[in-house]
Amino acid sequence: MAVLKTEELTYIYSQGTPFEKTAVDHVSLEINEGEIIGIMGHTGSGKSTLIQHFNGLLKGTSGKIYLDGRDIWENKSEIRQVRFKVGLVFQYPEYQIFEETVYKDIAFGCKNMGLDDKEIKRRVIETAYDIGLPEEILEKSPFELSGGQKRRVAIAGVMAMNPRVLILDEPTAGLDPMGRDRIFDCIKAYHKKTGNTILIVSHSMEDIARFADRILVMNNGSIFCFDKTEKVFSRAEEISRIGLDVPQITKVFMELKKQGLDFGREVYTVDYAKELILKKLRERGIKC
């Protein structure tokens, strides 16, 4: 069953003023339990606005959102419960850190959930371990940490709440390649461990291609396409027409196809490409 579902969701900014703008335009989609969804779209395509609807930070001008089949706005006073079930990590989340120690900052969300101290402690230590923060860091001030570590503290704060749906908005923006890989590895490990649904907004096609089951492409506030990863990247030309990019390896294989070397499949990760090429070579009797 779909864990998240929207029906004709529309959001209009500053309605009735000269600055009026439709940020989300009749979006209907379904996200299944345990999926990893990549969200793409150029700046201003409405993706950040859309994800803020999923945990009730924004209320659509019209349309509905269902979490586990229940309208999240059915009972307004329970919207906080929705936020515990749908965790949202904003862009540059390190700017929301405020506690004196790393431990306290990771615990903030759990505390708001009303968990007891023992459970909080268990979750904080476990999450910190999972995300690769050494235990001695927990008693330090978060403001002494490096940028990448701060980012991980902020993400851990939401992960510790163990939301059924975890949404991350550009979790690796502004990090170096190593910091980026570490965060992606942690998210992957988290998904394997908990089986929770994950939504990732990213500009890096390589990263999305590597581990998204399905990709949602947004354009001008509406869904451009929402399909399996390989199907989305098979529409490379249309995607580049709306100002987005496909992974480099996909481009290489498209060029190969033009030159007459058709592998018959869409390629979007380097590992898969390697596999295909080796197979082809073996077919031709070349030892490798």
């Binding site: 936020r83 904003f90 929301q96 405020f98 969300g109 959930m113 403001f143 939401v158």
Partner: protein, 267 residues
Amino acid sequence: MLKDITIGQYFPIESVIHRLDPRFKIIMTLIFIIMLFTGDSFICMGISAVYTLIAVILSRIKFKMFVKSIKPLMPFLIITAVMNLFFVSDGDIYFHWKFIKITSDGINVSFLMIIRIILLIIGSSLLTYTTSPITLTDAVERLLSPLKRFKFPVHELAMMMSIALRFIPTLIEETDKIISAQKARGAEIDTGSLTDRAKNMVSILIPLFISAFRRADELATAMECRCYNGGEGRTRLRQLKSSPRDYIAFSVTILFFVSVIILNIFI
């Protein structure tokens, strides 16, 4: 919610009021404020209201924007009116209960106060709505320049003012983002008990201060990189020039001001 704050906003459209010399606009606004507080009869308020109305129409800014600027000050307006209503005890008594008296003077005074404050808000928003922050601070600098003789740091003051104005929208946006981020972590900001809300203010204020300091530091570095060293010997790209238009507007303002004073003496 925070996006509704319109104080200090500027609407870049074409109008007579927009084209007035900002120095004159500041002085006229000051005269207007004095005018509001000298007049204490309905006729005087009526004259001030006509003056405001003319300026608003000439500015071509939608009336809705002025309503928006009054809204956040509504509680203040109501409290002032109620205080005046209950505690002015001269005139005919209409209603008496314990220490509360409602008198004819009380009603008059509170009505005058409401009109006065509303006009005050409209008049001062008109200044910022029609003048870009840069020209506004330029004008302040020019108006205060005689104080330089007394070693008063006029340029520095104007620079501080323009930086402050420039960062209001940025900080509002930042606050909005931080509030959303903390709400996403389950913080109760617009719901929950008063103590909970007060506690959660900390989770907003600390990140906000940190980012404000960071921005200030970055700005200072950027300014130094461009060799900023104060107002000494600095020339301007756009010189402020007054035109006949400004003198006409100024004369009209004086005319209104004088008529309010005269009416005030004779009525």
